[in-house]
């Protein structure tokens, strides 16, 4: 069997084209014929019709047609498809035979030539007896033919020739041998093509006609064969659509065949052929070059061709045949073929995103490389996919891959790989049986002791021999190294967890942590060193466990000693070290844990865990353990459940606990802008002297930024702070403190706005302490925060009233009014008003002295102090929003404050007031009281405030309590800016608070000027005293 037996035969792979034979052409000796043939052959591009031409002699013997079967009743097919059939129709049986003959229409010896031509046609027909092959005649002529119908001789002779040759007119062609040969040839070709198609069409009809004679039981094979033939003829006919359809039907029919061990290859082969055809038919067949087979039927065994019986007639022959095939099969490098196919498949599955199928195929590829003894490639592939299976937790599959990988690494004597795979095969993820694990562990120990391991089972004997030599070479290179293996990406047989005892440690106590180790291998294992690395490498030196052991001792005393791990038991190793004072406030992290197996002087392997331990499987395990409600069985003391240990790989170093007390004394709330006093008391409870005590106090950082602007801190209470003072005083040195000593510091805070603030008082100091016989200087600190509310010390209310103390919404130009202030204490503490001051705006003028009336007044909570100032405002015209009045400044302090505490001035902006002009101002001039039966002179002044002459009607209405003299009703004119005086003498008749006779003024020009308005300026009543009894003589005399 040739290695190419699995390739498709050439006749299957080529593109089927209509087969046309040309006869009567002497292409060797005749130049004209040669030119014709060349025109047929040359430039057969896609635009030419698909015909395969062949020149044959006129008397060529075509394959004989077998006699037609009239009935299929007794016919039993011997196979599906004969091997010769396709070739026969591609290259042997033409669709059309063309007879070329040199004959001009004006040939003088026409009769003779005509009969010779007819003979030639007859010979061809004889040879094609029984076939439907068409025959055509082409006359090669020297002259260019005339247009049809013009040459009478030509049409007559053509008809005669057709008759003689028994041809239809459509099968006779003329080929003038002129300049346009190629054009004629192409026209000829197209005509041939039509004939060929008709031929294949009839062939298809012929095959189809057999169908009705077939039955399903005996002719199953024929169904496939016929269907295949129809499809193949369709292809020859260039009818791809139908070809594809028929191939598909054929494929389905193949499936219906009864398969048995003896014919399964034939069925599969045919199915393959048809499937190939079905897939290449559309759009174009792809020709492949190979040798043709020699079998009668594809896929049959050469020693029993054509035998359909499922029973083997000759078992001996069968056995020999199989042996022969197997012998030939040996010479085939199947691995190579398989690997190529697999790698194609890998590419395919990668493209269509099937990662697991891809991995599986890569495993198969790796295994195939292993069988092909290409261990490097095998290892590369297996190593590549291992992590996929590991990450998805398919341990059975991983173990199988690892086992193959271990074999590869053994056979190549790859130390590091060998150790790595051993580590994982011994681990908990491995599904190997204990005896296998024991064997691997023993090998691993051997390797670590610089000896050769035992060969892996089921390895190729020759390869093992080579490997043993390689291993002994390795051994001779003693001390060939330290292998560091990062284990976090796989599942080694030693598990590790690091755990700090606490999430934070004070700097004055040693940092303690445990390393837990657990071995999963079947036998105890000894290690030579365990060391821990930190982010601050200075601590590394303190965390090493090492035992000086000789290499030979590895196997001895396995169950004792602290350097030994017993399978299944959790071992705990306690480490402690003193943290550096520089690391206060920093995180100490375990960056890696190294466990050394073997001895560093010989050969050793370092298992390196990144961080605080854990490997590829541990996070999932930890998750499961945390979900579990299972109660764990009680273990003896000092033993722990592995699952219950949680990795804690980092800890914080925090400062030593301070042993001082910080007290704050103050009287809240703070009053706005005052120098608020905060007394800080620091008392040391330390056993030794503390040094370098520093105080940081003020507004706690991190609050509203506006607070920082409006809060100032000072140590000196005697002067007011201004903007330049900070919100927080830092590192105020206070000195040293002896044990039990206490100190006091006054702090003054000035708050510019109300609201609550957080204040921080932070005391730091240094102290010398000893831990673990090591003297260190510890920095300790204690902080206190306090929230202080700031409030206004008092509320100031301001109002404008008329000189009659009537409330004024607006004041009148040039008419005096009163400004009243009311100071209400809001402070819980007594306030002393040191003084007050009214700072008038330029538009305001005082009517009398503006002296403070509340100097040195002490206000308790809720008490108020009022002042009254008489002011006047000139006419200012119409000002939007009124006229500014000025400021009211109060100087105050807490009554309890000491003398040297500065006085605080609080300025209150007085409200604006609307100033209005009045046309007529009336003021009355009268005594403060009257007396019964004593004349009471009253003078009314009427001032014209306008620039107009005012017509004024004045009347005085009588009152019961008074008699009066003067003008009772008058109408007069007052010139602009002048004043009219009216004098009345009132004579009181009754004592008591009496209504005065009312003055009514009516301005003709200003109808809005009412008596109501007038009443604001002039008194409406007066107190009348009774007639005195103890009066002097003059008064009596007057009475």
């Amino acid at each position: 069997m040739s290695p190419t037996q699995w390739d498709f035969p050439v006749e299957l792979c080529c593109r089927p084209m209509a087969f046309v034979t040309l006869t009567g052409l002497d292409v060797v000796y005749n130049a004209v014929h040669r030119a014709v043939w060349d025109a047929f052959c040359a430039n057969r591009r896609a635009d030419r019709v698909p015909i395969s031409f062949k020149v044959l002699p006129g008397d060529h013997e075509y394959p004989k047609c077998r006699p037609k079967r009239t009935s299929y009743e007794w016919y039993i097919p011997k196979g599906i498809l004969k091997t010769g059939w396709m070739n026969k129709h591609l290259n042997l049986v033409p669709a059309l035979v063309v007879v070329f003959y040199e004959l001009d229409w004006d040939e003088p010896q026409w009769k003779e030539k005509q009969s010779e031509c007819a003979t030639r046609v007859e010979i061809v027909r004889q040879s094609l007896q029984g076939r439907n092959t068409k025959v055509a005649v082409v006359l090669i002529q020297k002259k260019t033919p005339l247009p049809p119908g013009e040459d009478v001789t030509a049409s007559e002779r053509a008809a005669a020739l057709c008759n003689a040759c028994e041809l239809s007119g459509k099968s006779l062609f003329v080929l003038p041998h002129t300049d346009h040969l190629v054009g004629y040839i192409i026209r000829l070709e197209n005509a041939f093509y039509e004939h060929a198609q008709t031929y294949y069409y009839t062939e298809i009809r012929r095959v189809k006609s057999h169908k009705e004679f077939l039955n399903k039981t005996t002719h199953q094979l024929l169904f496939v064969r016929h269907q295949f033939k129809i499809a193949f003829f369709s292809e020859l006919k260039q009818d791809t659509q139908n070809a594809l359809k028929n191939y598909r039907t054929a494929y389905n029919l193949v499936h219906e065949l009864r398969a048995h061990e003896t014919n399964i290859l034939e069925i599969k082969t045919m199915a393959g052929f048809i499937n190939y055809k079905a897939s290449v038919t559309y759009p174009n067949p792809d020709p492949l070059e190979t040798q043709t087979g020699v079998l009668d039927f594809y896929g049959q065994r050469s020693w029993r061709q054509g035998i359909l019986s499922f029973d083997l007639s000759d078992p001996e022959k069968e056995k020999v045949g199989i042996l022969a095939i197997q012998l030939k099969e040996r010479s085939v490098v199947h691995s190579e073929i398989i690997i190529t196919l697999l790698s194609n498949a890998v590419a395919q599955f990668k493209k269509y995103k099937c990662p697991r199928m891809k991995s599986h195929l890569m495993v198969q590829m790796g295994e195939e490389y292993y069988y092909a003894k290409d261990y490097t490639k095998a290892l590369k592939l297996l190593d590549y996919v291992m992590c996929d299976y590991r990450s998805e937790g398919w341990w059975t599959l991983l173990t199988s891959i690892l086992t193959t990988a271990l074999k590869c690494s053994y056979l190549m004597a790859q130390l590091k790989d060998y150790i790595t795979y051993s580590l994982e095969l011994l681990g908990r993820a491995s599904t190997l049986k204990d005896d296998q694990k024991s064997r691997i562990e023993k090998n691993l120990i051997n390797v670590l002791m610089n000896e050769s391991p035992d060969p892996e089972p089921d390895c190729d004997v020759l390869a093992v021999k080579t490997a043993q030599k390689l291993w002994s070479d390795r051994v001779s290179l003693a001390g060939s190294g330290v292998f560091t293996i990062g284990v976090q990406d796989f599942v080694p047989f030693v598990q590790c967890k690091a755990k700090f005892h606490a999430p934070s440690f004070h700097v004055d106590v040693p940092v303690r942590f445990d390393i837990y180790l657990k071995a999963d291998c079947p036998h105890p294992i000894r290690f030579s060193k365990l060391c821990v690395s930190f982010n601050n490498q200075e601590y590394n030196q303190f965390c090493v466990i090492e035992e000086a052991t000789k290499a030979s001792e590895v196997l001895e005393n396995l169950t004792q000693g602290k350097m030994c791990l017993v399978p299944g038991k959790t071992r705990k190793f306690l480490f402690k070290f003193v943290a550096k004072t520089e690391d206060v406030g920093k995180k100490i992290e375990i960056t890696s844990v190294d466990l050394v197996l073997g001895h560093e002087t010989g050969r050793c392997v370092v298992l390196n865990w990144q961080g605080g331990g854990g490997d590829a499987a541990s996070s999932q395990e930890a998750l499961q353990a945390s979900r579990s409600f299972k109660r764990r069985p009680k273990l003896p003391d000092n033993e722990l459940h592995w699952d219950s240990i949680v990795i804690q790989a980092s800890t914080m170093i925090i400062s030593r606990v301070p042993n001082i007390s910080v007290h704050l004394r103050h009287d809240p709330p703070a009053l706005t802008n005052e120098m608020y006093c905060l007394v800080v008391t620091v008392e040391s409870h330390e056993k030794t002297r503390i040094r370098d005590v520093k105080l940081t106090a003020g507004l706690k950082p991190g609050q509203d930024a506006n607070l920082t602007q409006k809060t100032h801190v000072s140590l000196h209470g005697t002067e007011l702070c201004d903007e330049s003072y900070p919100a927080l005083l830092t590192d105020i040195p206070v000195g040293d403190l002896h044990p039990g000593e206490q100190l006091e510091k006054m702090l003054y805070v000035r708050c510019g706005t109300v609201g609550s603030r957080m204040f921080l008082v932070y005391v730091s100091y240094l102290i010398n302490t000893t831990i673990e016989d090591k003297e260190i200087v510890c920095k300790c600190h204690k902080d206190e925060t306090v929230t202080i509310e700031t409030v206004f010390p008092f509320d100031v209310a301001v109002k404008f009233v008329s000189t009659k103390f009537e409330h004024l919404e607006r004041v009148y130009a040039d008419i005096p009014f009163l400004l009243m202030t009311d100071l209400l204490s809001a402070s819980p503490w007594a306030l002393t008003i040191v003084s007050s001051e009214l700072q008038l705006a330029p538009s305001m003028t005082p009517v009398d002295q503006l002296e403070s009336q509340v100097d040195k007044v002490v206000l308790q909570t809720g008490e108020s102090a009022s002042e009254c100032f008489c002011l006047q405002c000139p006419s200012v015209g119409n000002v939007e929003g009124g006229v500014a009045t000025g400021h009211y400044i109060i100087s105050w302090k807490r009554t309890s404050a000491m003398g040297n505490v500065p006085v605080i001035s609080t300025a209150v902006t007085l409200p604006h007031v609307i100033v209005e002009n009045i046309p007529l101002h009336v003021n009355a001039d009268l005594p403060s009281f009257g007396r019964v039966r004593e004349s009471l002179p009253v003078r009314y002044h009427l001032q014209n405030k306008t620039s107009l002459v005012q017509d004024v009607e004045i009347s005085v209405e009588p009152s019961d309590a008074f008699m009066f003299s003067g003008l009772k009703q008058i109408r007069l004119r007052i010139l602009p800016g002048t004043e009219q005086e009216m004098l009345y003498n009132f004579y009181p008749l009754m004592a008591g608070y009496q209504q005065l006779p009312s003055l009514n003024v009516n301005l003709l020009r200003f109808p809005h000027f009412t008596n109501q308005l007038l009443r604001r300026f002039i008194p409406t009543s007066i107190f009348v005293k009774p007639q005195g009894r103890l009066v002097d003589d003059t008064s009596i005399a007057a009475a």
Binding site: R356, M357, H360, G393, W394, T396, R627, F629, K630
Partner: protein, 153 residues
């Protein structure tokens, strides 16, 4: 009926996998593992919108020459995979469906066990015997199938 039954966790690691003892166990492990590609694709093709109405039975995942692999996904994304001998033509879609339903019920019983920690490998005698019954049915039915074949031939 089945030659291999597997329960796969949401994270795609096996919770339970059992195959008939006569065949190479590893082959079935690979077969089940690779079928997860198809399961993944089918789940993602369904989209999130239809999670509520979707059918749990995924149908035939892929046929090989000798076996057919069927899949089923619970709402909690736990997958059931069943491998069936492809010569066993007596098994129709409906039977596979009902087998999966049985498997799902049995799995639910396992989950209801307060001592079972979700995510752990399934070690339940009841579940085991249910799976065994599914696999034994094959053996008892096999001769019957062969008889049918002979008749058809």
């Amino acid at each position: 009926m089945a030659v291999c039954v597997a329960v796969i966790a949401k994270e795609n690691y096996p919770l339970y996998i059992r195959s008939i003892p006569t065949e190479n166990e590893l082959k079935f492990h690979y077969m089940v593992h690779t079928s997860l590609d198809v399961v993944d694709e089918k789940i993602s093709a369904m989209g999130k919108a239809l999670v509520d109405q979707r059918e749990l039975y995924l149908g035939l995942l892929y046929p090989t020459e000798d076996y057919k692999v069927y899949g089923y996904v619970t709402n909690s994304k736990v997958k059931f995979v069943m491998v069936v001998d492809s010569s066993n033509t007596a098994l129709r879609d409906n039977e596979i469906r009902s087998m999966f339903r049985k498997l799902h019920n049995s799995y639910t019983d396992v989950m209801c066990n307060p001592f079972y920690n979700p995510g752990d490998r399934i070690q339940s005698r009841a579940f085991d015997s249910m799976v065994t019954s599914m696999m034994i049915q094959v053996l008892s039915r096999a001769p019957c199938c062969r008889a049918g074949e002979a008749l058809w031939a």
